[in-house]
Symmetry: C2
Subunit: 280 residues, 2 copies
Amino acid sequence: MPDLAYVNGEIMPIEKAVVPIEDRGYQFGDGVYEFVASYEGRPFMLEAHLDRLERSMRELAFDPISRADIRHAVLDLFDRGGYPRAGVYIQISRGVAPRNHAFSPGMTPQIIMTIRPVKEMPAEKRKTGATAITVTDTRWGRCDIKTVQLMSNSLAKQKSLDAGCDDAIFVSDQGVVREGTSSNLFIVSGGRLTTHPLTDNILPGITRMVVLKLCKAAQLDVEESFFGRDALLGADEVFLTGTVTELLPVVRIDDQSIGRGEVGPITRRLYDHLRKQAMG
Amino acid sequence: MPDLAYVNGEIMPIEKAVVPIEDRGYQFGDGVYEFVASYEGRPFMLEAHLDRLERSMRELAFDPISRADIRHAVLDLFDRGGYPRAGVYIQISRGVAPRNHAFSPGMTPQIIMTIRPVKEMPAEKRKTGATAITVTDTRWGRCDIKTVQLMSNSLAKQKSLDAGCDDAIFVSDQGVVREGTSSNLFIVSGGRLTTHPLTDNILPGITRMVVLKLCKAAQLDVEESFFGRDALLGADEVFLTGTVTELLPVVRIDDQSIGRGEVGPITRRLYDHLRKQAMG
């Protein structure tokens, strides 16, 4: 079975799926997206992803699309894919019109989706931990909206790979540690967890939200507050959270060991809780 | 004659021109562009646009494309269009690959172009002057590269129209006046011109460069230095520069008159010089 695409209601092989060159997603990055993953054939946190997708569209004043239609198309793709662990990528752009910065009247939002097996993180990384570099955050000012304005994310990710690491961590020019290139970030210090509060500068991650709840259920001390690079490098444990990332330990940042340079007990415990919840 | 598109070497009507959904221009805004306009059938400053396009690709580590091929395609489109005053939009994306933040090996840059008559600024605006609002600059940190990371530009332009104005002027959160949504900005105070220096935060505009040379040729006092919103609102004259904008007077900003609220003598004089140079 080839991996499939959905384009405004039609299903086709991904290689055949196209959009007009004057789709504003292409010429202005004027599009929003979500990535939903399944465990044992069941999409995880689908409604939370649809909530966020609707919020993204609302914040950018896209014309609305039926949530029921999107949900139906996503579930249909998971069914057709038939993979136990798959990812559906959903992208919605404002519409198609002759190039013009302002919104042209009467545009219809365009929806594309793809389904593929999830490219899992190597099991080894989960055991021994990942490495990262820090980079100055040069992203635009509304990273709380999940748009395709992803040039900085892409450049930072590539830079981390070129440096022999797994990911990059954005730090504001005032020194505040924000998040990874496609994940949120938590630190653990003296048994207490901290993650960046929800502002315009980070994504309101769904796995982040799940992990916050898991912390509370496990009576772990957790707070959403700002912290700097020193707190990051001096933490006992650091981990990233995201739909594909799940909960990934980071044991080395900017060539410095985090804690003992191995996966810590709180990270391991929360990962187990997360997997249990995801596997239902 | 329908307006035409060029897609990786093929010519077709714009409505038929498509790109794969996994073109990185669509999913990451990972593309750069130029817009070249002609006067009396002759493209203006074509080599300067090709210089900037090459620089944009280099800064983002795109695989190179033959400059001669791009030039040939642009000139061919101007010929086919046959309009005395036309605009060729050129967009190059990094390539097509299954979605992944990092660069996939072996990608080939994709080129699309369109040709259309230039949508001229209404003559009335040039006579009576345009109006603008100021907005906080929420763009990404490399506005010196002409990419399709244009969400902030698009939102700001729309906001200015919704406010009954013609354009928006980006001001940094430290209060530095930067440029318009698709143009650079000059102020005139006491006979002296000032424009934002070339940094990561503004586009190295080609018309900006031409106007700087025209100022020098006319022995006008001009400097590239930072200035704030007070200097902007207190200026005798303000104008925007760009390929389509040409040199556009702004006579009202945030509901305050600039100078006497009419097109000033230096703006008018420089516009005449620019037109003369463009008409060759």
